[in-house]
Symmetry: C2
Subunit: 481 residues, 2 copies
């Protein structure tokens, strides 16, 4: 068991240093590596396989709703970026600029896309002519670049992978529906597939996407009580359409501007999975995106040839049933293997030893709660789906409990301060008047920023937690990643 | 039929102007669009759907052979690019340089990856320690940038999409096997899935990839007799391993350098599909990658409600059987629809009219030869697979016939000249002494360059077609895209 111990010992405990625990998992579970490209990460096979599963599940949902994938250039000429005033103000300070092509300086510098609204708008101006061309429901999977000063794997890196949906609609109503529909797709994906409970809401005006009329987000609570913005959806009105002169002939033969949305989810979700579900033994993966859903570990293979035979049989049955399953019949000790697959967050481990074979049983170990149950060998393939669903639902409940136990309703700034002094990070619910000055003051005095105005409002009093003037809405406040 | 005529007339005939015909198809079949980003293309939904099908088919083959996907940063610091001398010489003149991050100049400029050998090598140096870590079989799907002066959609653009495999092996033999194995995967994919016959061979030394010991390629003949390099696979020896100090402890406990390969295929394949199979009515797509494999067109729907009923029934049957099928019950005329789906290269069109319904029949129109057959309505779903396989095999045969009819064996430079004067572009087979000077002279005098030294050699005489000295091998010569 020496190896096993060594491996587990290498991880900092999450209670000792959550940030270090996070980085340890990223490295030891072989999700990422660093390179000489500062602020960027290498996504290793195990990390990338999680991303591929995420892509597949989200892409299927997008396509079922009629969205089509496209690919836009990765460069944006400076003059194109400059077309929408708010947008360029938001992004220009954090883009990477290409100024040389081969050995020659470019006549106009190009930024590496930080997001692609401008490119989509230029294209839409070309291809949208009539109401018959609407809606346009496009999406792209690509990498984008934002020149961040402080970076952390998955959470904030200079380059990251994402999808960006960009849609155009004939009416404001339809565009607004799309904005919320896609936020709900993200929420549903997080809750059902990633087992991460999320709060849906609108960003306050100061926190909107550059150029958007409204920005919606889903906010998840990490194990340490901090918030992670896990997906955003924006309603643009016809602002970009006017800036890019996108017009179409409506049914009544008048010329009109279409209404626009965009929405995006990124590799940051992998950071969310780690910090929502992980523990001191390593990663804990939701079954829907786990590269290996079930690992079969034969025990004491040398004692009886039946062990490997049975293990192989179970492996083949599970594979045939469509699960992502691995048989580890390597020379490593069972202890090493247990630690390894715990570190990698494999949801179910099936152990088969000589005595199990005689008794017609196998041991199923659950990663999420480290418990074990005994299951008849001939029932395991049929029961695997149910077991994985149990894992998912218990992971979700555990995450929800964590959130509920760290969510506090506060009516005064002093209450926020004392909650934070006593409990540390968590979600604060408190009323707000709608003024940016109050947002700033809450942040300055208590450390928590406004995360969103939840769709599910509660009435926690009639006055703003900060200025005491009439409150407009309940805001979710937290320290965020 | 006015619309139909108009649409078809908009395409230049391939015999009038092949280059214009090509560009017309790219635009009219809605594969691409241009933007203000010079030399880059927008891949539109129909074009991108072809790419997604290509990705899926190739990725499945890669994974079956044990390859894993990863994601490397899109930037390469100049010092890293400079580590392997031949490599940087080949690529530095054609890369895009990022020199500013936000508003600050970078201390070291970064190139946007033109290919990722250097990044993979840096990572491999980190993670390869022991013979147990070998082989490493990594692949990545991404976009790359090469600052080309003259660009054409799919064939040559400043940014393109591709996959790049990068593998490391304990022995030269194993690495050499991998190099050829992956070339064969490309060849098999082209012949079976894209219905494009290819010639496998080695590049001559002057035409090798920058830094490679050997480069292999598959060469396809386009309809106009020109060659298209459709995929390459490189054997690197341990050159990069030495430059990047990648070492591992071998079984005998000595320190050793691993042997390396890389191999890539790009969106250029879509250009190959267009120029191999297309005709004056537009695109002709191989069933394996066609976004729509079968389109069902109800005729004279207004005459009998049974028409749409039957068409829907057939559509549902085909969909349930797993085909990518579309039912077009829009208001457009049948003539417009026929022209539209011919332009888009849909392999099979099923027409169902009132009289067909009465007779229990439908008409199946083949895109590749524009022929039609009558098929019983209740047999069509069961027969579709066979029909699509017929399409594939006839497309392949037609392409092979084109290649064979335009391939010429030549024994003297004069023969090459007269073949070219008489027949125009095609493949020339001729013997070669192995000297670069002769390659250059053949090119200068006849216009054809060496494409590859085919694996399947023929003996066309004992002397070099150019200098008359003893010949080493038969070379395939052609004008290339």
């Amino acid at each position: 068991m020496a190896n096993e111990k060594k491996m587990v010992e290498q991880i900092t405990s999450m209670n000792t240093d959550f940030a270090q625990w996070y980085t340890d998992i990223c490295k030891k579970a072989e999700l990422i590596d660093y390179s000489s490209v500062k602020g960027c990460m290498i996504i290793r096979p195990y990390g990338y396989a999680i991303w591929e599963n995420i892509q597949h599940l989200l892409d299927t949902r997008f396509k079922e709703l009629g969205h089509e994938n496209v690919y836009m250039p990765m460069f944006i000429p400076e003059s194109l970026l400059n077309k929408e005033k708010d947008h360029v103000e938001g992004f220009a300070p954090e883009v990477a600029w290409v100024t040389m092509g081969g050995n020659e300086p470019l006549t106009e510098r190009l930024c590496v896309r930080p997001t692609s609204e401008t490119l989509f708008c230029e294209h839409y101006a070309n291809i949208i002519k009539s109401y018959r061309d609407l809606p346009k429901l496009y999406n792209q999977w690509c990498s984008v670049v934002r020149w961040e000063k402080t970076t952390r794997p998955f959470l904030r890196s200079r380059e990251f992978l994402w999808q960006e949906g960009h849609t155009m609609h004939a009416t404001e109503e339809e565009a607004r529906e799309e904005t919320v529909r896609m936020l709900n797709v993200y929420a549903d994906f997080h809750e059902k597939d990633l087992a991460i409970p999320v709060i849906r809401g609108a960003k306050t005006p100061s926190d909107k996407f550059a150029g958007a009329e409204d920005t919606y987000a889903i906010e998840a609570m990490m194990h340490d009580g901090k918030a992670l913005q896990a997906g955003t959806s924006h309603y643009f009105g016809d602002g970009f359409a006017r800036a890019f002169n996108i017009t179409y002939t409506a049914k009544d033969n008048t010329l009109a501007y279409p209404f626009q949305t965009s929405w995006g989810c990124t590799t940051r979700m992998i950071g969310g999975i780690i910090m929502t579900h992980g523990d001191d033994n390593g990663l804990v993966l939701p079954p829907a995106v786990a590269p290996i859903q079930i690992v079969v570990v034969p025990i004491a293979m040398h004692k009886s040839p039946v062990v490997l035979e049975k293990a192989t049989e179970i492996y083949e049955q599970l594979r045939a049933a469509g699960y992502r399953v691995k048989l580890d019949d390597s020379e490593q000790s069972p202890g090493w293997k247990f630690a390894e697959y715990e570190m990698k967050g494999v949801p179910l481990r099936i152990e088969i030893g000589p005595r199990d074979c005689e008794a017609g049983l196998c041991m199923v170990a659950f990663r999420h709660n480290l418990e074990k149950v005994s299951v008849p060998l001939d029932a395991i393939a049929g029961k695997a789906g149910e077991l994985l669903e149990t894992v998912r639902s218990e992971m979700y409940k555990k995450a929800l409990q964590n959130r509920e136990s760290k969510t506090y309703a506060c009516r005064t700034l002093d209450e926020i301060k004392s909650v934070r002094a006593e409990h540390g990070d968590g979600f604060i619910k408190a009323m707000w008047c709608g003024e940016e000055a109050c947002e700033d003051q809450v942040k300055a005095e208590t450390g928590v920023g406004s995360r969103c105005i939840p769709f599910q409002q509660e009435n926690l009093g009639a006055t703003c937690v900060c200025c005491g003037k009439p409150a407009k809405s309940m805001v979710l406040w937290a320290v965020a990643y």
